[in-house]
Structures are given as structure tokens and as C-alpha cells.
């Protein structure tokens, strides 16, 4: 990459694209040329910049001035003022706001915010996701080169095991162990699948990685294939992520052109290819066996396990299924070594974690911080406190299948083991922060509604249980429930956990259990006093019928 005096970045998340980011980009290109600046100023589309209130945004470095919303007709003035004359185009600047995401990280370097530690997201919003050259300049494909030319597959797996990396899809299974299972599984034909069916409500970290740094995932997939002895990989992307699919397609093509995919990669006898498979809208396909069924062209209904995909996966062949965020950890681990990775996070959960902060806080968005940070810190530092000075009541972690965490647990370190010990789960990293204007019955109702919609219907406990759970919660919200309903709800949650075939049903009962454990008084007020203490539930006296 040549030296430039300024970098101009254009946000290109779906909202920006929808608001004309492409036109703004094209105009910038024209105007830079018209002013004769194209050789000294670089211009990139950079995905999601972590702020969406004034898109499309144009950010100019090194000054880090943020303009937005920028319309195509503003571009001439912006280029003339800022880039040609060197004055700020103040009339176009984005409204001052507490910043999150990528921009928060920038301010952090200037000492105004506690620093995030960006390992996975370090290139997101910095490089052009459609340029393999920019990726390579930022250490891209170095880990692949090292793995293929200096390490045996066994050494790669050993390094991942040593790093202590645990799956980021929600379950926290040790990644190195999973790789070893697939590598040791009998059979010459093996597959790697990247699970990019991110559908957990409140979670969009994978989308940002896919849209902002697709090459890092392609690199990780190739390394994974080399390590476990696979010949082909599939990326299962949810159907709604059209921009991500486009970026991945471009990245795969560029990797082919550079010789990172195809026959005899890096002159070794390792050959490999990656296919993209689009989902068609089904939350359940995030479950690995349902995902495999879906790639095979069937209904996304989970298979009974065991046997596990590590031995009987895609087309009944040994298959490695890893989440996007998990795979994004692979190149930095190999590039910097397992020992370096262990300096991040906690001893039992090394590394960083990407969280999405949502709900009633001042600053919503995405952060990447070491494992082990507490909820209180997240709200105070990155969420910039509760909105309107309200009181923190509860947080819903990890999308629907996580936990409802009461204020009393907000000082628990967020890592796999501490959360397990507290009886709650971290899930996918979504943190939905709720203030005391929210009703816990109402929230649980929304969650159960989600599960009853998304249950694939294959096994009875899940199909009927979620429907019944929603019915009871609706009756509580309408003020027509009786106390015995709470016993039924408790039993139902346990039955869902014990009897369901897959993770969807097994975790569907978790919010019910949390609600009854931590917020029983509030629930009972709906029944005994016929009052919703938060004033949210309708309490109409109408019975709910399925």
C-alpha cells in the first residue's frame, strides 16, 4: 500500500447502503479525481463503523473527523473544504454523540475512553473488505503461510489446544478438542463448515466480521481444513445477510486468484475449496445438525446426537462446524502464538469476546473486550450509563437462549466458568440491558413467543412446551393466571430442558427458570394483586387461547 496523507472511509453497513453510501462513494471518487487528489488520499468502503444515527458516514483520518449523514450532493463541498483546502466542513459533521464501536476505539487511543482490546475486529472499519491487498498488508494470510509451510496439521491443532480457545457460538466447547476429534475421525473425505447463520436475537457480531473482514474468515477456514484434513468447506450464511454473502463471494474469488484456494496451495500438496450456502430464514439452522440437513437441501430439523458431526456430519462424513467468531480467532492465534493469546482474558476463558450492547443504555453498539469484564463495567463504561438515568433492572444475555440476569449478578465476571457457577449462561454475547420500565413477564413472553415461532416442530416437548409456556405467560400478563400456573411453568421449564431433542428446546426453559428464581415476587403480583408493577402488561382479564 502506498503512503497517503489522508484516509477517507465510507460506512457501508446495510443501512448506509440503503441510504445511498454507494453513490456517496462514487462521487467521492470523482471529486478526488477532479481535485487531483487521488494519489495522495485513499478511499475505502469499510462496513459498519459502529454508529448508525447519521448514515452514510464519511470519516477522514488522521484527524478522525466524522461526517454524516452525507448526501451525494454534499461530496463536492466536503472534498473541497476538508481535503483540498484543509478546513473542517463543519456544516456536514455528524451530531456530537457518545461514540461506540470502531469510533470508540479510536477515541480510546486519544485517552478519552477505556480501551477496548480489538483482536478480531481490529481490521473491521479500517480496511476495504473488498480488497485482498489491504488485508494482506494488515498481516493477512501470514498465519496461513506459517501453518502450511512451517507446521504439520498436528502442530496447528496443538497450538489451538494450547491457546485454550473455546467456541463462541454459545456452548463454549474447547475448539482444539473439536478439531482433534475431526482430524482423528476415520475417512478420507471430510468437511469444514462455518456457521454464519447468526440468528440469535440481539446478536450481529458475526455480520460485522463477515461484512468488514471477510478474508480473515476465509483464511481461518483454509487453516481449519488443513488441520483436520478436509478438502472442502461450506459457509452457511443466513439468507438475510445479503451484503455478507456478496463480500464473501468476492473474497473467495480473490483468494482463488492469489492461489490461497484451489490446487496445491503455497506449493504444498494441500488443495481446498470453499462454497457458500445461503439459508432461507430459520433460526433452528444455527443448530449444527439442522444446519447440515439444510445444506443437504432438507428441512432444517436437528438430528439426534450422538453420533456427532465430528464423525457423522455433512453427507455422513466427519465434519467440523465452527462459529464465525470462533474461526476469527484462529489467524491471530497462529500468527502471534498461543502464549500471547493466553495473556488476554481469564485463565479458563482466554481471549477477547465481542459483545453487542442493546436496550435502555445511552450508547448501544458493539465492543470487543477481554473475557471476564463485568456487566456493571459494560453498562457504565461502554453503554455510557442507563438511558434517562433509569435504574438497571435486568439483562438478557446471549439472545433468546441465554439467561435473564438480575441486578444482583452484575458484578459476576463474564467468562464461561464464572457464569456457569452463577447458574446463568453467556450465550452468543448479546447484552440486552433493561431498565425498571420493563416487565419481566412481558420480556419472558416475548422470548417464549420467539421459541414457539422458531421451534422446528420435530419433537413434542419443544413444539408443545413452548406453545403452552407462551399461553401461561400470556394469562399472567392478562391477569387471569392462578398460582398453580407457576408450578406448571416450573415443571414445563424442566421438561423442556430434559426432554427436548436439541439446544433450542433445551434452552427455551432457561428464561422461565430465571424469571421464577429472581423475579418471583413481581410475577406473583400479576397473579395475587392483578397488577403489573411496571405498568406494561395489559391485564385485560381476557383468557388466552391457543
Amino acid at each position: 500500500m502506498k503512503a497517503v496523507r489522508s484516509m477517507v472511509l465510507v460506512s457501508s453497513d446495510p443501512q448506509s447502503m440503503n441510504q445511498g453510501a454507494q453513490l456517496v462513494f462514487d462521487r467521492l471518487q470523482q471529486e478526488l479525481k477532479a481535485f487531483g487528489l487521488e494519489s495522495e488520499i485513499s478511499l475505502s468502503m469499510v462496513g459498519d463503523v459502529g454508529r448508525h444515527d447519521a448514515v452514510p458516514m464519511v470519516i477522514v483520518y488522521p484527524e478522525a473527523v466524522i461526517y454524516g449523514p452525507v448526501k451525494p450532493d454534499d461530496v463536492h463541498f466536503l472534498v473541497e473544504e476538508h481535503l483540498y483546502k484543509g478546513r473542517l466542513a463543519t456544516s456536514l459533521q455528524a451530531p456530537a454523540k457518545e461514540l461506540t464501536g470502531r469510533i470508540a476505539w479510536l477515541s480510546a487511543r486519544r485517552g478519552t475512553l477505556p480501551a477496548e482490546q480489538r483482536v478480531l475486529l481490529r481490521r473491521v472499519g479500517v480496511i476495504d473488505p473488498n480488497s485482498i491487498e489491504e488485508y494482506i498488508v494488515h498481516d493477512g494470510y501470514a498465519a496461513l503461510g506459517k501453518a502450511l509451510t512451517e507446521m504439520t496439521p498436528e502442530q496447528v491443532i496443538a497450538e489451538i489446544e494450547k491457546s485454550g480457545l473455546r467456541g463462541r457460538g454459545g456452548a463454549g466447547f474447547p475448539t482444539g478438542t473439536k478439531w482433534k476429534f475431526v482430524s482423528k475421525a476415520a475417512g478420507a473425505r471430510k468437511y469444514v463448515i462455518m456457521n454464519a447463520d447468526e440468528s440469535e436475537p440481539g446478536t450481529f457480531k458475526d455480520r460485522l466480521l463477515l461484512e468488514g473482514d471477510p478474508h480473515s474468515l476465509i483464511e481461518a477456514l483454509i487453516i481449519a481444513g488443513y488441520a483436520v484434513g478436509a478438502q472442502e468447506a461450506y459457509i452457511y450464511v443466513r439468507g438475510e445477510y445479503m451484503l455478507a454473502q456478496e463480500r464473501l463471494r468476492t473474497a473467495i474469488q480473490q483468494a482463488h486468484e492469489m492461489g490461497f484456494l484451489g490446487e496445491n496451495i503455497f506449493g504444498t500438496n494441500f488443495s481446498y475449496d470453499i462454497h457458500i450456502h445461503s439459508g432461507a430464514g430459520a433460526y433452528i439452522c444455527g443448530e449444527e445438525t439442522a444446519l447440515i440437513e439444510s445444506i443437504e437441501g432438507k428441512r432444517g430439523e436437528p438430528r439426534p446426537r450422538p453420533p456427532y458431526p465430528t464423525t457423522n456430519g455433512l453427507w455422513n462424513k466427519p465434519t467440523l462446524v465452527n462459529n464465525v467468531e470462533t474461526l476469527a480467532n484462529i489467524p491471530p492465534i497462529l500468527h502471534n502464538g498461543a502464549a500471547w493469546y493466553r495473556t488476554l482474558g481469564t485463565p479458563s476463558s482466554p481471549g477477547t469476546k465481542v459483545y453487542t450492547i442493546l436496550g435502555n443504555v445511552n450508547a448501544t453498539g458493539l465492543i470487543e473486550v477481554p473475557m471476564g469484564i463485568t456487566l456493571r463495567e459494560v453498562i457504565a463504561i461502554y453503554g455510557k450509563g442507563m438511558r434517562n438515568g433509569a435504574t438497571f433492572k435486568m439483562a438478557q444475555t446471549g439472545g433468546s437462549s441465554g439467561s435473564i440476569i438480575p441486578a444482583s449478578l452484575q458484578d459476576t465476571p463474564m467468562d464461561f466458568d464464572s457464569f456457569n457457577k452463577a447458574g446463568v449462561s453467556l450465550g452468543s454475547g448479546a447484552l440486552l440491558i433493561c431498565d425498571d420500565n420493563n416487565c419481566v413477564v412481558d420480556l419472558a413472553k416475548v422470548l417464549l413467543n420467539f421459541f414457539r415461532e422458531e421451534s422446528c416442530g420435530k419433537c413434542n416437548p419443544c413444539r408443545i412446551g413452548n406453545q403452552r409456556g407462551f399461553q401461561i405467560l400470556s394469562n399472567i400478563a392478562e391477569g387471569v393466571a392462578v398460582l398453580k400456573d407457576l408450578d406448571d411453568l416450573e415443571l414445563l421449564a424442566e421438561n423442556l430442558y430434559q426432554l427436548s431433542n436439541c439446544g433450542l428446546g433445551q434452552t427455551a426453559g432457561a428464561p422461565i427458570k430465571d424469571v421464577l428464581k429472581y423475579f418471583r415476587a413481581e410475577v406473583e403480583a400479576h397473579i395475587r394483586l392483578k397488577v403489573c408493577p411496571s405498568g406494561v402488561c395489559p391485564m385485560s382479564g381476557k383468557k388466552y387461547h391457543i
Binding site: 446495510p14 443501512q15 440503503n18 448508525h52 444515527d53 447468526e198 440468528s199 440469535e200 436475537p201 440481539g202 446478536t203 450481529f204 455480520r207 443466513r238 439468507g239 438475510e240 445477510y241 445479503m242 450456502h277 445461503s278 439459508g279 432461507a280 430464514g281 430459520a282 433460526y283 439444510s294 445444506i295 443437504e296 437441501g297 432438507k298 428441512r299 432444517g300 453487542t356 442493546l358 436496550g359 435502555n360 448501544t364 453498539g365 458493539l366 438478557q396 439472545g399 433468546s400 448479546a430 440486552l432 433493561c434 420493563n438 420480556l443 416475548v446 422470548l447 413467543n449 420467539f450 415461532e453 422458531e454 422446528c456
Partner: protein, 159 residues
């Protein structure tokens, strides 16, 4: 696409194009159905029939797949499909009020199509743009930070 039936030739062309693009293989069924759904607005019975012949998969098998996925529809939909995210992050951010306004403005309940065939209103699970909830999706356009008073203005763009 409106509620009126699509002529057979259009259906055949859409199916043929999709099957050619991905190949007549069972593994490619979902991408094929996706493409047909995109070009016709839904998957008519004639399309199922034709795909069944080309892929040598029974109609019941095809129907069970086509009816499983949210993005595929076996029933005609309105010219514009409005999807409202009903997941918790949008709900907490004020989604409930937006939903009530949407229903009142369109005079539709979830899953219904307006008599003039212009609108179909459906609820959906998380669309992955939760940083800007409440979120609605009109066809392929995402709207974030939606407030009830913006609904009329958003809908007016699609007449």
C-alpha cells in the same frame, strides 16, 4: 407480485433459470427455491411441480422444505412485504408501539395481505441489525430507529 395468478410461462422460465444456475441436484434445492421465490414473489404450485420433475424429488418432499423456511412462501404475497422484527431487543427499544401503529395504518393483522394486493404484513425474528431497533424491513430495505410517527412516511415511498 400481486395476488393474481402468474402465467405458466413466467413460472417455467423462473424455474428453468434457477435450476440452470445451481444444477438439478437435491443439494441445491434451497438455493433454487430461494431464487424462484425471489423472482415470482412466492412459490406457486406449478413451480413445485416443475422442480419436482427436474430434480426427481417428490412434490411432498419439496413442499415440506418450501413451507419450512420463513423466507419462502407457498402463498401469494402482496406487492410489498413488510416484515416487523418482534424479537426482544426491538421490543425493549419501543417496538410494541411501532407494531400497533403498523397494524392500525395498514388495517392488517400479522400474516394478512391487503385486499388491493399492495401490502403483506408479517412478523419476523431478529434481522441482525439490533443496534438500531426497532427495525422494519420493507421488501429489501431496512429501516432502523423507527418511531410510530415515521410509519406513514416510510409506507408512502412504496405506493
Amino acid at each position: 407480485m400481486t395476488g393474481e395468478t402468474i402465467d405458466k410461462q413466467t413460472v417455467m422460465n423462473a424455474v428453468e433459470k434457477a435450476v440452470q444456475r445451481y444444477g438439478a441436484s437435491r443439494d441445491e434445492l434451497i438455493p433454487i427455491l430461494n431464487d424462484v421465490n425471489r423472482s415470482l414473489g412466492y412459490i406457486p404450485a406449478e413451480a413445485i411441480e416443475e422442480i419436482s420433475k427436474l430434480l426427481k424429488v417428490s412434490r411432498s418432499q419439496l413442499f415440506t422444505v418450501a413451507s419450512f423456511y420463513h423466507m419462502l412462501s407457498t402463498k401469494p404475497r402482496g406487492k410489498h412485504v413488510i416484515q416487523f422484527c418482534e424479537s426482544a431487543p426491538c421490543h425493549v427499544a419501543g417496538g410494541r408501539e411501532v407494531w400497533v401503529t403498523l397494524k392500525d395504518t395498514l388495517k392488517l393483522e400479522s400474516g394478512e395481505t391487503s385486499p388491493d394486493g399492495l401490502w403483506t404484513l408479517i412478523t419476523t425474528s431478529c434481522l441482525g441489525v439490533c443496534g438500531v431497533g426497532p427495525v422494519i424491513l420493507v421488501d429489501d430495505d431496512i429501516y432502523g430507529n423507527v418511531t410510530p410517527d415515521q410509519i406513514a412516511g416510510i409506507l408512502a415511498r412504496y405506493h
